[in-house]
Symmetry: D2
Subunit: 456 residues, 4 copies
C-alpha cells in the first residue's frame, strides 16, 4: 500500500456546486470505505453462515479502513482490468493478517462489491440529503404559516394575474418538497438492495449457502435483500435517479421563484446571509447566491438522469460498457442533488421577505386584478353580458388613463346604483379575493405534519 | 364546430414505433376527450356542491364528445392564446344547449383542464401499458419455469464466463418487469391527481366551495385529490416520467439480450411470428423485429425523461414556457413505453428457444468455464496455490491445443490421483455448477406470484 | 393502394408547438414524398449510368407521388418488417406501369431510402427554418440599430448592475442568431449527404457501377456525395442535431429575456400582435405568447439531441434498434426548432419597446449603478483607497435613506472640491457610461451584413 | 496563500474513466492555471494598449502560477460570492508585488475570466484529444488497408446478410473518425473565442480602449476574437459540446463493433495488450477492456451535451444559474471524450484480427448470403420470377437440411444447364460479391490522406 491520498478532496468549484455534507459521501474516500465495508460485510456474512471462521472475518474487517489504501494508485491499476475492485482486493489481501487473507472477496465478483458499495453510498448520502430537504421543507412551512395572509400578486406567464398570498406560494413549495422527501425516503428504505451473485449471478462458488450469505450480507450492510441478483437489471439505480431528478426539479422551481422575486424591480425577497452576495459599491445589489447555486446544481439532474437511464441496457450477465458508464453520473447526481438541497435550505432559512413591497407590487395594476370579481358582483343586477362589458370598458379606461380602477368604476352610474363606496372598496380589496388560500395552506401544513410526525 | 378530423390518426412510423393500444390513448382524439371529460366532471363536481343545477351539468356533459370537435381547428386557434383549452371552451360553450352554456369551464383555468386531462390520459394509457408489461412478465415467468434447467453460457463483457440457465436469465428479466410494473401501478393509483386551482391556485372564483369542488372533481375523474394545486410543482409528471423511464430501461435490457442471443453465430433464440422478419432468399435470417422495435422505442426514454425533468422550473403561478414544453414529451414518453411494452410482450410470447444450441455454445470453450470448480476440488489435496497452478496450466494447454480441458486434466498425474474419471466428469459438467440458480429462479417466481396474486 | 390519408395532418398542439412552415416538411406526407423522391432519383441515377432504360426511370418517377399512397396503411404493414420502406416499395412497384416495375428500388436497401429521405427532409426543412431564423436576425438587427442609444439597466443574476443599451442586448441576440444560422447553413450545404450502400454498404448488387450511381443519386437529390456509406456512422445526423440544439438554445435565451422584460413589474417590452395574448378583463396583461411558445419549443432540444446522440452506436452494418430510434427525434427536433424559430421571428418582428420605461427602471436605483464611475473619477485627486471609501459610504447612505446618490455625493466636501455640479451630473449619467457599446453594436451589425451580403 | 494542494488529482475511477492526457487538462490545477493565464493576458493586453506600464503587467504575470494557489481554499471561499474568480483575484492581488497589485483583474468581471479560461481549457484539452482521435484514425486506416480483402460477414440487425471485408468496416470507422476530427479541429481553430465584456458586456471601465484590449487579449491567449461579448450567448460552448458528442458517438459505434466481434462465439478480434483483460483460469477470455472503457466514457456524452444545451437560456447580462450549471459538464464532457478517444486508440492500435475466423463465420450459413447473386445470374436464362423461385426453394431446402447451398443448387437441372460447376463456384464465392468494396475503402483512405496531408 502506498501512502494515503491527501485528506482534502475539495476542489475549485465545490464551494458553489458541491456544497453541504453529501459531497463528502460520494468522494473517493467514501467509495473506498464503502467497497471495504462490503468486503468486510461479506466475510462476516460467510462467517455467520459457517463458511469461514469468525476470526478470519474479524481479521478481514479489521483491515477494511479506507485510510490504509491509496485511491489514486488503485484507480491507476484499475485500467488493467477495467474496474477498481480487482486492485483493491489485491491490496486488501495484502493488508490482511494470516490465513484470513485467502478468504478475502470469496464468492464475490467485482460487480457485487461495486454495486453494493454504490447502494451503501446512496444510503449514506441520502441521510444528510434528506436532512437538508427536510430543513428546506421546515423553512417553507414556517414561511407558509407566517405569511398565510401576506397578499401578493399571483403571476401567470410572468404577468400579474390574481392575488395570492406568499404563504400559499410557500405552501406549494412545501408540498413539492414533501413529495420528493417521501419518495426519496421510500427509495432509501425499500429499494437500495445489496448485490451478490458471483460472476454470473448464480452464486455458484458459494454452492448451497449462497442465499443465506446474501441474506446475511443485506443484514450486515443495512440494505434490502433482493430476490436475486440485479447485476444487469438496473431498476434500483434508475428509481433512485428518478427520485433525485424530481427533487432537483422542485429545488429549481423554488430557486427560480426566489430569483424572480429578488429582482431589483420586484424586490419582494432577498437572501439574508450577511456578507454573502453583496457588492461594496452597489448597496442595492444582494445577489441571491444561494438560490442561484441551488438552481445551478439542480440543472444537472435531467442530463445525469438521462445518463443513468441510457445505461440500463446491460448485456447478458455483465454489461460491456453500460455498467462502467453508471459510476460517474451516479456520484454526480447525488452530489448535485445534495448541493441543491443544501443551498435551498440555506436560502429558505435566511429569506428576508418584504411584505410591504409585495403589497405595493400588487397595486401596480391599480385594481385590475380584481376586475373579474366586480363583474361577478354586478351580474345579478345587470346580467352577465352587461356586467362584463361595463367592467371591461372601465378596466380599459383605467389602464389607458393610468388611473385606479376603483375611481373609474365609481364614476359609472350603474355601478354606484348597485354598489356603494364601501362595497366597491371591499370588492377591490385583494385580501378579500383569495378563495380557499388559507384552507389550502392549512392542508399543505397538515400534510407536512402528518409526514414528519410533528405539529407545525 | 367544423367537421371532425379523420378517424385515422395512424402514421408512417406508427407500426414500428407506436405499436399497441397505448398510441391511441395519447392521440389527439384521446386528448380532446380527456379535456372534455374534465369539463364535464367539473360541471358535475359543481352541481354536487350546489353551485349549479344538475340539469346544467348534464347539458354540459352531454356535449362533451370528442367526435363533435375539430382538433385541427382548435389546434390552429390555440396559437392566439398559447393553449388549446381556450378555443375548446369556446367551441364547447357553443355546443351546449341553453343556459348551461354560461356555466362551462366555470372557476377553472386552462391549465386546470390540461393538467387534469394529462393525468386522465396517463391513467388510461397505463391500463393497457401495464397489461402489456404484465403479459411480458408472464411470458418471462413461463420461460423461467420451463427453462429452469436449460444450461447455457453466462457471459460477462460479452465473453463466456460461467454456466447459467436460460431460466435464470428469464427470471432476472421477470424480476425487472415486476419491479417496474409495481412502481407504475403505484404511481397510477396514488400519484395521478386532479389539478384545480383557478388562475393562480387560490380557487378564488369558487369562493368557499373550492375545496369541495376539488374533492368532487377528483372523485368524478377517478384521480387522486391533491392537498393543493400542483400547477407549478411538477413532481407528479416527473415521477410518472421516472417510472416510465425505468420501464423502458428494462425493456431495452431484455431486447438487447434477445438480439444478442439471436445473432447468426449464437442462434440460441429466434422470434417465432410466422411471416415476420423473414427474408425470402436468406432463409437463415429471421430478423428479431419485435426485439429491435422494442429497443428502438425504449431508447427514446432517457431523452424524453430529461425533457420532462428539464421543464420542472415553472415560474410563479404559471410557467412561461416550461408548462407548454411538457405536452409533447408527456405523450411521446407514454407512447414510446407503450410501444416498447407491446413489442416486448410479443417478442417474449413468441420466443423460440434452442436449448441444444445453448448447450453447444457452452461447449465451445471445452470445459474452460469449469476450471474454477476443478481448482476448488483439488485444494484440499494439493493446497490452494498448487491446485491453482495446475488447473491454470491445464487450461492454457487445452486452449492452446484446442483440446477439451477434461482430456488435458486427465493426463495429469496429480489429478488422476485425486479425482477419478467419474469425479472429473461430474466436476466439468456445467449443470452441476449452477450454485443457487434453481432457488433464485423460484424466488423470482414467488415474488411474481405474490405481486400478481396468481400461482405461477 | 388505398385511398390517400386526410390532407390535414395538423393536431391539437400544433398551433403552439408546431408553428410555421417546418412542421409540414416533417409530416408523414413529406416523408412519403421524400422516400419516393429517393426511389425516383435512384432510378434516374441508374438510367444515367446505363443500368436501365430512361423510359423505365421515367415510369418509376411518374409514380412517385405521395398523394397516391396511404401512409397509415404503409405504416401498419411496416410492423412486419420493421420499417416502412418495404411496404412502400411493394406499393410503388404495384403503381409503376409495365416492365419498369421490376426495376423499382434496384440495388438499394431500406436504409438507403430512409436515410437519404431523412437528409432530403432536413434539406427541405432547413430552407424555411433558416428563413425564420434569418427573419429573427433581421428583426434583431433592426432593434439593435434603432435602440443603439436606448439606455436600460444591465442585469446580472437578475440584479441591476451597470447601464447598457437595448441595442446592445439586441446586438448580442443578433450575434447568436448569426452564429447558429451560419452553422446550420454550413451543415445544410456540406453535411447532408445521400446514403447508398445496399444491404451491407458494398453496393454489391450494382457491381462496378455502384460509385457512379452514388454520384448520380447525390446529384439528382441535391445532396452531398459521401466517400462511402454512412449507414452506421451517424456523424451527419449528429452534427445536424448539434446545430439545431444550439439554435434552440439561442431562441430560448432571447425568449427568456423577452418574458423577463415583459413582466408586469418591468414592462419594458410587450408583444404587439393585436388580439393575441390579451385578456378582456385584464387590460394590463399582454401574455407574451410568442416568446413563451418559442421557449417551449426550444426546451425540447436538449432531450431530443440526447436521443440522437444516444442512438449513434449502430451495430455492424445495420443497427438493431438505434437506427429505428432516430426516426421520431429526427423529425421532432426539426419541428421543434422550426416552431421555435417561427415564434421568435414573430416575437421580434412585433416587439413593442418602451424606452421610457427602460430609463425609468434604470433610475430605480437612483444612481447606484454609476458609483463605480465616480470612484474612478475621484482616484486621481483622493487616491484609490480614499475614493473608494468615500463613494461606498455615500452609496450606502443613499440606499439607506432612499435618496439619489447624486444628492448625497453633492453634500460631501471632498466631492464638491473636485467635481462641480455639472461634472457630477455627467458622471452619473448612465448614457455616458456605456464603454464601447456603440462600437460593439456596430461590430455585430457589420458581421451580420457580411454574412448576409446585405447592408443593414 | 495556503500551501498548494496535493499534486495528485487522480481518483478511484480515473484509470477507467479518465484515461489519457485530457483528464489532467481539465483538472483543478489546469483550471487555476487557465484563469491565471487570463489574468496575466489581460494585464499584458492592457499594457499593449497603453493602459498600464509593462512592468506592472510583468509583475502580475509573474505571480500567475497555479502552484502558488490553493484550489481547495479558493473553492471554499467561492461560496460567498458564487464563483471562484473573486477569491482567486483576492489571492492573486495579495501575491503581486508593489503597485501592480492594484491593476489585477482591471476592467474584467468574473465571468470574463472563467469563460476565457474555459475556452483555454478546451483549446488545450483538444490538442491531445485530437491526437488520440487521429491516432485511432491512423490505426483504422492501417486496418482498412491491411484488411482490404479480408472477407467477413456483413451483419444487419445482428444477422448475417451479405459479405463485406473487414477493411470496409475499418474504412467506415475511419470515415467517422475523420469527420469528427475535422469538426473538432474547426471548432478549436475558429470557435473558441476570448470573452471580455466587463460586468454587463459594455467594456465600460475600459472606455474607448475596450475593443483594442479585447483584440490584444485574444492574441495573447491564442483564441479567436468575437465581435462582442458572448457572456449570455452560449453558442460557442454548445458547438463544442455538439462536436464532442458526435465524437463520442463514433467511438461508441466502433467500441460496440469491437465488443461484438470479440464475443466468445464470434472471436474475430481480440485486444492484444499483454496482461490486460485476461483471466488466469479462463484462458479463452480476453476481456475487451479498452473497447468497454471507451464505450463507457462515450456513453456519458448524450446526457452531458443535454446539460450544456439545457443551460443556454442565460438571463439578461449574466445568468442566475445556467452559467454556473455549465462548469461541471463542460469539464466532464472533455474528460469523457478524451478518455473515450484514448481508449479507442489503444484498442485499435492493439487489435488482433483473426481473418480465418472471419471467413469461417461467413461460411456458417453455407452460401445463403450468395443466393441473391445466383438469382441475378439466372435471370437472363430463366426470367426474373422463375429464377427467384428456383433459388428461394434451393435456399430453403439447403437450410432445412443443413447442407451447402452449392450442393443443392448443383442438383437442380435448370442450374446445371446454365451454370457449370466453375461458374456456380465463382458465383458462390463471397470474395467475388463485394461490389465496390475496394474502391470505397480507397475513397475513405484518400479522404483521410487529404485531411491529414499524409499519404496512407
Amino acid at each position: 500500500m502506498r501512502p494515503p491520498s491527501s485528506p482534502s478532496e475539495r476542489g475549485l468549484f465545490d464551494g458553489v456546486l458541491g456544497r453541504g455534507p453529501v459531497a463528502a459521501e460520494v468522494a473517493d474516500r467514501a467509495w473506498l470505505q464503502a467497497m471495504l465495508d462490503v468486503e468486510a460485510g461479506l466475510a462476516r456474512a460467510q462467517a455467520r453462515a459457517g463458511l469461514l471462521p469468525a476470526e478470519h472475518a474479524d481479521a478481514i474487517a479489521a483491515a477494511c479502513v479506507a485510510e490504509r489504501f491509496d485511491a489514486a494508485a488503485i484507480g491507476a491499476e484499475a485500467a488493467q482490468t477495467g474496474n477498481p475492485v480487482v486492485p483493491l482486493v489485491a491490496a486488501l489481501t495484502g493488508a490482511v493478517e494470516g490465513d484470513a487473507a485467502g478468504q478475502v472477496h470469496r464468492g464475490a465478483t467485482s460487480q457485487d462489491i461495486l454495486d453494493s458499495a454504490a447502494m451503501l453510498i446512496a444510503h449514506r448520502a441520502l441521510g444528510p440529503l434528506l436532512d437538508d430537504l427536510d430543513g428546506a421543507a421546515r423553512a417553507a412551512a414556517a414561511l407558509a404559516e407566517h405569511h398565510r395572509d401576506t397578499v401578493m400578486a399571483g403571476r401567470t406567464l410572468l404577468q400579474q394575474a390574481l392575488p395570492v398570498t406568499f404563504g400559499l406560494k410557500a405552501a406549494e413549495w412545501l408540498a413539492g418538497l414533501d413529495e420528493v422527501v417521501a419518495r426519496l425516503a421510500d427509495v432509501r428504505l425499500h429499494r437500495l438492495a445489496v448485490q451478490l451473485g458471483g460472476a454470473a449471478g448464480t452464486l455458484a462458488s458459494l454452492s448451497e449457502a449462497g442465499p443465506e450469505v446474501l441474506a446475511n450480507l443485506a443484514d450486515e450492510l443495512g440494505l434490502a435483500e433482493p430476490p436475486l441478483a440485479w447485476h444487469t437489471i438496473r431498476v434500483r439505480p434508475a428509481e433512485l435517479a428518478g427520485a433525485l431528478g424530481a427533487a432537483c426539479g422542485v429545488v429549481a422551481k423554488i430557486g427560480r421563484d426566489v430569483t424572480l422575486m429578488a429582482q431589483t424591480e420586484v424586490a419582494e425577497v432577498s437572501e439574508g446571509v450577511p456578507g454573502r452576495g453583496g457588492s461594496s459599491t452597489l448597496p442595492h445589489k444582494r445577489n441571491p447566491v444561494a438560490a442561484v447555486s441551488a438552481i445551478a446544481a439542480a440543472m444537472r439532474a435531467p442530463g445525469l438522469v438521462a445518463e443513468l437511464l441510457g445505461a440500463m441496457a446491460h448485456e447478458h450477465e455483465r454489461a460491456a460498457g453500460p455498467w462502467h458508464a453508471e459510476w460517474r453520473p451516479f456520484a454526480a447526481l447525488l452530489e448535485a442533488t445534495g448541493s441543491a438541497a443544501a443551498w435551498l435550505r440555506d436560502c429558505l432559512e435566511h429569506l428576508d421577505v418584504d411584505a410591504e413591497r409585495m403589497r405595493a407590487n400588487l397595486e401596480l395594476t391599480q385594481g385590475a386584478l380584481m376586475a373579474e370579481r366586480v363583474t361577478t358582483a354586478l351580474v345579478p343586477a345587470l346580467g352577465r353580458h352587461a356586467a362584463h362589458e361595463l367592467v371591461q370598458d372601465a378596466a380599459r379606461a383605467a389602464f389607458a388613463a393610468d388611473r385606479p380602477l376603483a375611481e373609474v368604476l365609481a364614476e359609472h352610474e350603474d355601478v354606484r346604483e348597485h354598489l356603494d363606496a364601501g362595497a366597491l372598496e371591499r370588492l377591490l380589496d385583494p385580501a378579500g379575493y383569495l378563495g380557499a388560500t388559507g384552507e389550502l395552506i392549512d392542508r399543505a401544513l397538515r400534510a407536512h405534519a402528518d409526514r414528519t410526525g410533528q405539529p407545525t
